[in-house]
Subunit: 338 residues, 2 copies
């Protein structure tokens, strides 16, 4: 019997158990932020009951995220879980609450990014994924691709384990009414100014989540039903890595909401991070600069962001943004207005 | 008769003619770069006739671009014209030469960006646009959107003036043979390692063009047929602003080619520019750093880039890249290998 034969496995066990220790959160530091869309959200626009419903749902989502993080959940897993909660609620324009496109069905986009590995996944134009963010996660983890579109992308995600939902699941009276109104208006609005068309944008409500987990890793995710009455297979910023979603342990994790075209032109999510990485600004300064850039581009919307130290930002150009933040210092805050 | 009535129009004429003067190139400085894809391009792989064909086509495209620029053409217009030349050639994997997807038809992506205004346009999954780059330009100039997908996007582009082409137009024996081979191989390869699948990537040949025009404006464009035998509505980097294409007068114009997923993860096109804007590096240093980043991500491919001073870069990780550069100093160069 040769002891040498045992040394290798023993060393291996010691190393792996050390690594496993390292992977356990020591004092469970975490920060989590969510948004449920930016727009003309003013106190007088919401009834008390509506305000209460939004508040409760945002708080519920944050608490589910916190619980998972306290139990040692990863940033990526938390982002997916929390966005699922928001997608499953009819309050937001994502998943169950997604708006109707021009053809009268929901067409959803989502993306997710792992700040540790820069792995990312996205789906766009999916109609029957109960949780588009789950589809994005599957693309990231189970394929060599980053971005899949439409029915074929969706079928592939379902093959790989994504939950199917039929169109009846997505139907809500509120969104159908919005759609009917938009279709009627559009008959008149089509040849009108951009200014008037922008009114339709004001009803957008993408959802997003960014997380710093106890292992010091960042992740970001975004999910949307896009524009009410959208046409022509339009893709916005939500499924575009660098536009609507970005995460990098070297800087920060960002999720955006607003009129997607401006976020694509400004590569807004990537820019918040790039200005930290290359411009050596802190998260706050970088966020303010990139919000200014968005305003210069005449863009409307906002974003949430968190860095490796748990610093966070919630910036927006609009009257309000459904948003919330919680961290391991006991902070738990939900806001809507300025 | 009141002279005051004439002052306004006269002032208007003077101002507009001054502006028109300003819009005319003074000494017609320009720089133009093109690529026809990166990959395992080695001298021994091409016959003399093939080498000659690629050389001639790249030179032809550059000269068409130069002619247009000398006549005061804009960067955006030049990018579109030059990419059309490459799309119309069966030599490259774009337009006429696009590869077949898994379902046996061509599915093409393209994008274009104006560095002066940050306006941009993209199409993905289009099957019957003779020149996808024309579709991208139409999205940029004639819609409020940035990114349109599939048949609906295509129909909209055709309504707005894009040229239709039936599938017979795109058929080439070479691509059909490639497709048949890939389908056969795939039956075996599907459950194989990424390493083996990568061999299919080696046949990619996206086209791209970046331009500095005589007015000091930058533009970039990219067009591709994607992967041979691609599935699931996969979208690569070519139509993604910030991944495959980016232009900003504040820094540079970039067009990428390679395995798209890595360019999305690395936001490669935007990063070449962002490292100049935020990191204050010059184009050469920025390009080298971002190529290193691509290599760290295990990405394969390359990019062309030009800045406002006419400095240019052609970087790639692969054995070769079909590429060319021309400028107003009389430079005209076409290369394929290292």
């Amino acid at each position: 019997m040769n002891f040498k034969n045992y040394i290798k496995p023993i060393v291996f066990v010691i190393i792996t158990s050390c690594l496993a220790q390292k992977q356990k959160p020591s004092d469970v530091n975490y920060t989590i932020l969510i948004h449920g869309g930016a727009g003309d959200i003013k106190k007088k626009m919401l009834t008390n009951a509506q305000e209460e419903a939004y508040s409760q749902k945002l708080e519920e989502a944050l608490k589910i995220g916190e619980k998972h993080l306290k139990n040692g959940g990863t940033a990526v897993e938390t982002v997916e879980r929390v966005i699922k909660v928001l997608e499953d609620s009819p309050l937001f324009n994502a998943g169950k609450g997604a708006v109707f496109n021009h053809l009268g069905y929901q067409e959803m986009d989502a993306s997710i990014m792992n700040g540790k590995t820069l792995q990312c996944g996205a789906v766009a134009g999916v109609t029957n994924l109960k949780n588009p963010i789950q589809g994005a996660r599957i693309v990231m983890d189970s394929t060599k691709h980053v971005f899949l579109y439409g029915k074929r992308g969706q079928e592939f995600c379902i093959q790989k384990g994504a939950t199917y939902a039929d169109s009846a699941y997505f139907y809500t009276d509120k969104r159908w009414g919005q759609y009917q109104k938009a279709v009627k208006k559009n008959l008149i609005l089509l040849d009108h100014s951009v200014g008037k068309e922008k009114k339709a944008f004001k009803k957008m409500g993408t959802v997003g989540c960014v997380v710093l987990d106890a292992y010091g890793n960042l992740a970001a995710g975004t999910s949307t039903g896009g524009l009410v009455n959208k046409k022509h297979g339009r893709i916005g910023d939500s499924p575009i890595i660098g536009a609507g979603t970005y995460a990098n342990n070297a800087s920060c994790a960002v999720s955006c909401t607003g009129v997607g075209e401006y976020f694509i032109r400004g590569t807004i999510a990537r820019d918040v991070a790039a200005k930290m990485e290359y411009g050596k600004l802190n998260l706050k300064k970088s966020s303010i600069k990139i919000l200014q850039k968005l305003i210069q581009l005449k863009g409307r919307g906002g974003f949430i962001a968190v860095d490796k130290k748990g610093n966070y930002q919630m910036q927006f150009t609009t009257k309000g943004m459904f948003r919330g933040v919680a961290n391991s210092n006991g902070l738990l805050e939900v806001k809507m207005y300025r």
